[in-house]
Symmetry: C2
Subunit: 250 residues, 2 copies
DNA sequence: CCTTACGTTTTCACTATTTGAAAGGCAATA
DNA sequence: TATTGCCTTTCAAATAGTGAAAACGTAAGG
């Protein structure tokens, strides 16, 4: 094809590339999408997209709404993800500390990881007040959350680049100025604007070699003093260090 | 190939079939697995498996351990699943009721769905006692849990068949005898053997057309009277009906 | 009721892509 | 240094995927 793009795409199967491209498109926008629309956005021909989707439907990675015959992600992705998370080392390492941590900070505690420029919340222990803002199963562009900023700033340069790609122009400019500050900070805080976005305090979880592989986050009440925030951050940091330690010993 | 197998595999891409076959193999057994082992188990040649895995690694659906160069599932499956769950109608319908439900029954509450013969826990609100048995991110063969038995017994015949395929021989025989009883029951209970498997009470969540699309489950304390169990089941059932109602209205 | 419009699905000839045998690397072990 | 075991790459053969076009289904409009 061309000379410079995608150096590591050598010896790779185009059909698989196309299939995951479709999964990516299905993960954006509305839950169910039209064949022709997917063909347009992917740049593939309509019959090709149809065949790919039919193949994915057979595996339950995609499902087709019988009434509209539109396509959306299927339940098998949930099963695969569950198996992935069940064996994720960080989650095993954090497991013993999460409930005590929730009790210590008194609010819901989250574990987040950075995936392709997005923050994914992979575990959670609910606080007693439960879900004033219980927006569970969130996936956000990294820069929109404290956990994401923290992990992005400490990540490799290409992971940082993916975060920039996933961000809005405003966030992108902001992020470029703040990266060093975000990387240096022991904990990060996002104010809960008003309705849908609660406040979030996040600290990194470092593995044996000092890489930030996850973030621990808590959602303090909207009006909380600096001192209260600092105390929550201290609790989070202590649990994060403990988990990091068990991680390197195993 | 042959005459009778796979009638709906027509017009389907072999490469995609092979790729998802590998994802399935990676989801079983140890977290990281050898290329040659995967080639054996899949029946594909080693270079083919290598190319498929390389393609999946490029998409972060699979990751390769740099030290052992073994392959395991990658973080992108978690991101896709999160987007799937974020838009899953049942979860939206149940959301308003889960925290009150947790408070009413006084223990952790789970939402489970049936995927390819397995029970997947797709949402959870933790109780105050948190995780005596906090075995989060569980995927079990359907028949091993109350929620699974309940959903399997009420599912279509091929979903039931998939459950049989995923079960141990013992469970299979047991299930074949109990199916009618499980389908008829308003709630189901599994005793918490001893250590790793807590007790579980489950009720179905029915959609507008009476199909059981999810299960609501709670984990009562090991020693709980029949009456206490019945009360928990009643709470669960009430929430389930409420969610089912909002589901058909939308 | 017939026509038009729009989206999904199928067919089919063409060739780009995938395939597996064999060879090449690269660590560990003896 | 030879050997073993595993991952990775190469390359000719041909299978398996591709897109234009046609067929099908369904819903709105005349």
């Amino acid at each position: 094809m061309d000379g410079v793009s995608e150096p590591d795409a050598r010896g790779t199967l185009g059909t698989v590339r196309n299939a995951v491209l479709l999964l990516g498109l299905l993960s954006e926008g509305p839950a169910y999408q039209q064949l022709t629309d997917l063909a347009d956005r992917s740049g593939l021909s309509v019959p090709t997209v149809h065949r790919l989707l039919r193949s994915l439907v057979l595996a339950d990675l995609v499902e087709q709404d019988p009434s509209s015959s539109r396509y959306g992600l299927g339940p098998e992705v949930a099963r695969l993800a569950q198996r992935y998370l069940a064996r994720l080392p960080i989650l095993g390492a954090l497991a013993p500390y999460l409930v005590p941590l929730r009790d210590a900070v008194g609010h819901t505690v989250h574990v987040a990881v950075l995936v392709r420029g997005h923050i994914v919340y992979v575990d959670r222990v609910d606080g007693a007040d439960g879900g004033l803002y219980r927006d569970t199963h969130r996936v956000h562009p990294a820069f929109e959350t404290a956990a994401g900023r923290l992990l992005a700033a400490r990540a490799t340069d290409d992971a940082w680049q993916q975060c920039l790609d996933a961000a809005t122009p405003d966030d992108r400019k902001h992020a470029e100025n703040e990266r060093v500050a975000w990387r240096e900070a022991a904990h990060l805080l996002t104010e809960g604007g008003d309705a849908d976005e609660p406040a979030e305090v996040a600290v990194p979880v470092l593995d044996g070699s000092g890489r930030a592989i996850a973030a621990l986050a808590a959602t303090p009440p909207p009006i909380a003093s600096e001192a209260q925030i600092a105390e929550i951050a201290a609790h989070l940091a202590r649990a994060g260090r403990a988990a990091g330690r068990t991680l390197s010993h195993a």
